[in-house]
């Protein structure tokens, strides 16, 4: 255990400083010792979680978060062919940018979720009505929404209202700058949870999968 933690911290440091040779070395070391899924579970995901949390606290910068998530996505792709479903008991889930043109937050969350072995549809950017139609058509159980602007955050209300009207208990998880500046906003717009970083996205999706299966 302690050993795994040391490795996680080392990987985190290497990712933060974008030290590619060191990242490769740590990756090889882990792959030599553990099965692919364990490397993801015990090394890559915890390192990404630590980096995400450090960003939310202002200890690392977004550029480091983004580059780390991109590198980890590559590492995971090398471990697992993309078409093989890795995790059991996953819910039908998707992520979208609502209303505005800022795709980076979603991209990071998506790549961290995928790097963690979660299967999740990418809806790209959509307006509220389009998003509702698509979510219903895909019979989603979880919808993650990312926004940059306050007016877009307020549109989550419309999505929630449309789901309620059709009595569809789709869980909505939100994230993005407006929610970071106003910590009561996610409740106000009818979301079920708010994530301060991509790591919170993992926690959300895991928790809901557990609730549904139990």
């Amino acid at each position: 255990m302690a050993d795994a933690q040391v490795l996680t911290h080392r990987l985190r440091d290497a990712l933060e400083s974008l030290d590619r040779p060191r990242i490769e070395e740590l990756f090889r070391l882990a792959v030599g010792r553990q099965a692919p899924l364990q490397v993801i579970e015990n090394l890559i995901v915890p390192a990404l979680v630590e980096i995400g949390e450090a960003w939310a606290d202002g200890r690392v910068a977004l550029s480091q978060v983004y580059m780390s998530s991109r590198i980890c996505e590559e590492l995971v792709a090398r471990l697992l062919p993309p078409s093989v479903p890795v995790r059991k008991g996953q819910l039908r889930q998707a992520i979208a940018v609502l209303g505005d043109y800022h795709l980076l937050g979603k991209r990071i969350v998506l790549s961290v979720l995928r790097a963690s072995g979660f299967d999740i549809l990418d809806y790209g950017r959509m307006e509220a009505d389009e998003l509702v139609d698509r979510a219903l058509a895909d019979d989603l159980q979880i919808l993650l929404i990312s926004v940059l602007m306050l007016p877009s955050a307020l549109k989550v209300r419309e999505v929630r209202a449309a789901f309620e009207e059709r009595r569809r208990p789709i869980r909505i998880g939100v994230g993005g700058a407006p929610f970071l500046f106003d910590d009561g906003l996610w409740r106000e717009v009818g979301a079920d949870a708010m994530g301060r970083n991509a790591a919170d996205g993992i926690a959300m999706v895991r928790r809901w999968a557990g609730e549904v299966s139990s």
Partner: protein
């Protein structure tokens, strides 16, 4: 004191009669005129009239001639998408491939209708106000503009992986930024806000900033012929507070996520601090919340001058009601009178 004298005293780190307050409502003028946001920004006269009415209503210590950030991306060919209840956004990148940077040329201010509208608004405001109230212009930093020119993800990759292309892009953007800022000063702007959120520690770590955004800022600000306010647009900046103070800017916008007193301690009287009310949360403030927040900020940074109360982004969201802005204004009247004995200093 006129607002201009009040702001000048504060910026000289002397105590004016009271803490100056900037209520930077760029869009609220549309409500005053009964116009949609798109229509409002389509004519300089609207913005002139809107800013004057807002000034009469809130009695803030400046007027703002900023329209919206996507305007500068428009100059490079980006398309702007308007919405009904907030600022428009740049709809997508124009530099679709990295090689496009190699051929990029700075657009000319006089050939860009949107920018000419801003200059017309500045001239109109100057005509109506004379030297009584500061008129604030704004320009996006060369280091922050690429998010709109090429998309955020690709830009971060460029920063890390293609230093020579980055240098070329910075050179083009700097030429544009300097020309744009100087045109606003020539039209009558008192100072120019230098919007550089990508340099905030929210987005890049300090060591990278010192090699990139900081150098770009120092060389850009040196060519701008008037006072500049460095704005991180509510990105965090405490770890680079002293670095920013060394860029040549006379003021700096502080994030609601940063500790204002710690900023004051870090920069002393080298720059004037502007901030740091939380504009996003402001929408739901009661009068008592507003008063509490105003007191907090003044107590943290008001003493000895060198402080202007404002929101932390440099733009109050459309959703913030008049009552809140008026409550902020009333609280400044009540708690902002120097010598601020109540702060215990």
């Amino acid at each position: 004191m006129t607002p201009q004298q009040r702001v000048q005293a504060a910026m000289a780190h002397r105590q004016p009669d009271r803490v100056p307050v900037f209520l930077l409502a760029t869009m609220h003028g549309a409500k005053e005129l009964g116009l949609g946001i798109r229509e409002y920004f389509s004519r300089a006269e609207h913005v002139i009239e809107g800013q004057l009415r807002l000034q009469a209503k809130y009695r803030g210590d400046c007027v703002s001639a900023s329209f919206y950030s996507a305007l500068e991306a428009e100059a490079f060919g980006c398309e702007t998408m308007f919405i009904e209840d907030g600022p428009p956004n740049c709809a997508g990148p124009v530099l679709r491939r990295d090689e496009d940077i190699d051929r990029l040329r700075p657009p000319r201010v006089i050939e860009t209708p949107g920018l000419l509208r801003v200059l017309e608004a500045i001239r109109g405001l100057k005509e109506r106000l004379g030297g009584r109230l500061p008129i604030l212009g704004s320009a996006i930093a060369p280091f922050s503009l690429p998010v709109m020119q090429m998309g955020f993800a690709r830009y971060i990759e460029l920063i890390y992986e293609q230093p020579r292309r980055l240098a070329r892009l910075m050179a083009v953007n700097r030429r544009f930024c300097v020309a744009w800022a100087n045109a606003q000063l020539a039209a009558g702007a008192t100072a120019v806000g230098y919007a550089d959120p990508v340099s905030s520690t929210t987005i890049v770590p300090r060591d990278l900033y010192l090699r990139t955004g900081h150098r770009v800022a120092t060389s850009t600000l040196a060519r701008i012929k008037g006072p500049t306010a460095y704005h991180l647009a509510s990105g965090r900046g405490l770890p680079i507070a002293r670095d920013i103070a060394a860029t040549g800017a006379v003021a700096v916008g502080v994030s609601a996520l940063d500790d204002l007193a710690a900023w004051k301690a870090a920069v002393g009287d080298r720059v004037t601090l502007v901030g740091n009310l939380n504009g996003v949360a402001m929408r739901r403030w009661t009068a008592a919340d507003a008063e509490g927040e105003v007191k907090r900020a003044i107590a943290a940074a008001g003493r000895g001058g060198g402080f202007i109360l404002a929101d932390s982004h440099g733009e109050v969201p459309w959703q913030v009601p008049d009552e809140v802005l008026l409550a902020i204004r009333a609280a400044v009247e009540r708690w902002g009178r120097y010598p601020l004995d109540w702060t215990g200093g």
